[in-house]
């Protein structure tokens, strides 16, 4: 049973007033809000448990190490993979950089990397850099005019390119569109392709079973999954993961060090140089507990209901153009009003206490594909309500009245 009123009580920030009006937070694609349990876990860690991990033999350090490693187990459980296949990073962006850098020695001028025009800059730029470094060729999957991927066309494209690396977003951060991953991942099965899925948006809304999905890598950010900022990570199929070169070197990741050479530990340790964000990981542990206690199906249905409701309301407004796919969407709506600048709309909405994002959403190639410079994005989470949408739509009407 899913009761949004009960859920909202767990998120203290949602009772905030912005400009003397109740906060309507529609920017969860940028970062999700945090339940009290996450806030408390972080506070308790610093108040009672703070110590470094994997180092001291004293009680606090052992407790911190246990809690830290238990969170790795929780993430592994969440994605249905093994704990040793989870690496901590500061977020999805660092995770993608870690993978791209780690592949440097595996690629050369005969290699090919395939990306999509839907990607966040974080899943474009590291591959451009890798192509520059290795001489590999960068290919772009064809995208339909409405910014969806035509599976048949993509499969044919992949069959021709036979890529060394294929990287896809699980869900577009700008549009919310869900990628139909399975046929695309299957299409490269025979080519020994290294497959990467950007789960920054999908990890919470879609809770994927990575064993079933069968990609080689999957990256995520804790702060988009109710957890603290500055933590995230990646899943890597163990053989593929351990084959990556380390991205950073230093303490914790080494086995032995002499002044002239060092040997590295195996994954995941070899990718975790330096003291990690321990408090962040501990906070994320509470976030994972919160997410896994929810009825996954009920949450998904509720988010879809909110999405359909806002789509209906926006469609009623003359002059609104919606860019998001309405059938397969995690609950993010991307739109413009006539030729008004999204900056003006977002600034005025803020006056009504409504938090949305405006701009290119770190997806300039996608915006160029859609023929726009930017858009307004309202992104939903299961703590939003129908009333939030009513307030948002009323505010939007008032903004339009101010602009017209």
């Amino acid at each position: 049973m899913f009761t949004v009123e009960k859920i909202r009580n767990d998120f203290p920030i949602l009772t905030q007033q912005i400009n003397n009006q109740p906060l309507v937070y529609l920017d969860s694609a940028a970062t999700s809000q945090k339940p009290q349990s996450v806030i408390t876990a972080t506070e308790v860690f610093y108040t009672e448990q703070n110590a470094n991990v994997h180092r001291g033999r004293h009680t606090l350090s052992e407790q911190a190490t246990t809690a830290y490693e238990q969170t790795r187990d929780k993430v592994a459980h969440y994605f249905n993979v093994q704990s040793r296949e989870i690496v901590w990073t500061k977020g999805a962006t660092e995770a993608l950089n870690l993978i791209a850098n780690g592949l440097t020695e595996q690629l050369d001028k005969n290699s090919s990397i395939v990306i999509t025009p839907l990607e966040h800059h974080a899943n474009i730029v590291p591959w451009q850099q890798l192509a520059l470094k290795t001489g590999a060729k960068l290919h772009i999957l064809p995208l339909e005019p409405d910014a969806t991927l035509n599976v048949a066309a993509c499969v044919e494209f992949l069959d021709q390119v036979k890529p060394s690396v294929l990287t896809l977003t699980h869900a577009s951060n700008a549009l919310g569109n869900i990628t139909n991953l399975s046929p695309l991942l299957s299409a490269v099965k025979d080519f020994n392709t290294i497959t990467i899925v950007d789960g920054a948006q999908g990890a919470m809304h879609l809770q994927p079973d990575l064993k079933t999905l069968d990609c080689d890598f999957y990256v995520f950010s804790a702060h988009k999954m109710l957890g603290p900022t500055g933590v995230g990570g990646l899943y890597g199929k163990y053989e593929r993961l351990n084959a990556l070169q380390p991205y950073q070197t230093g303490g914790e990741m080494i086995e032995t060090v002499s002044l002239l050479q060092s040997t590295f530990r195996d994954a995941p340790a070899k990718f975790e140089a330096g003291t990690p964000n321990i408090a962040g990981v501990i906070g994320f542990s509470a976030a994972l507990d919160y997410l896994t206690a929810l009825d996954k199906k009920a949450v998904y249905d509720y988010e879809q209901m909110l999405f359909n409701y806002v789509v209906d309301k926006l469609n009623d407004i003359d002059g609104i153009t919606i860019y998001s796919n309405l059938e397969h969407n995690i609950g993010t709506i991307c739109f413009n009003y006539r030729d008004e600048h999204p900056f003006d709309i977002a600034t005025l909405l803020d006056g009504f206490g409504v938090a949305v994002r405006s701009g290119h959403h770190c997806t300039q190639p996608l915006m160029a594909h859609l023929g726009i410079n930017g858009s307004v994005r309202a992104s939903f989470c299961f703590y939003n309500t129908h009333q939030d949408i009513d307030i948002f739509i009323n505010a939007l009407h008032e903004c339009i009245a101010l602009l017209d």
């Binding site: 400009n19 008004e340 600048h341 003006d344 006056g351």
Partner: protein, 138 residues
């Protein structure tokens, strides 16, 4: 400080509802002449803004004053630019240095628009104007 800004400030301070204030600001933007396309060079584009903001700064040696032309593709930023121009345009370097835009925006209840997170370029524009005034007053 020239009279026009005082007049604008009076109007804004007598717009109690924030909606009215924004309406006035957008009206100011509408009244600001469009910048000639030839002046919209890559150099004039203020970097790092979500909206496109152009600033053309020149020093008139004969009159010993700053000539400021600005434009933006958003209504609100263009209106804020109009306010900045009314503060500084045509003033001598020492006059410019005597005016603190942050204080003036604070008084108008618009200080949040000069915060770094807004990314609207207004803060960068004020800094550029002040930098030129400082350089010319040496």
């Amino acid at each position: 400080m020239n009279k026009t800004f005082k007049e604008l400030a009076y109007t804004l301070n007598n717009s109690p509802a924030w909606q009215q204030k924004y309406r006035e600001i957008m009206l100011l933007g509408k009244q600001l002449p469009t910048m000639p396309e030839v002046l919209k060079t890559p150099d004039a584009l203020v970097p790092g803004c979500e909206s496109k903001v152009w600033l053309y700064l020149e020093f008139d040696l004969q009159e010993n004053c700053l000539v400021i032309i600005g434009d933006s593709d958003t209504r609100i930023v263009k209106g804020l630019l109009a306010l900045i121009l009314s503060l500084y345009n045509g003033l001598t370097p020492s006059q410019v240095l005597a005016i603190n835009a942050f204080e003036e925006f604070q008084k108008l209840g618009l200080i949040s628009h000069l915060s770094p997170s807004r990314g609207n370029g207004i803060k960068a524009i004020v800094e550029r104007i002040q930098a030129m005034a400082e350089q010319k007053s040496l």
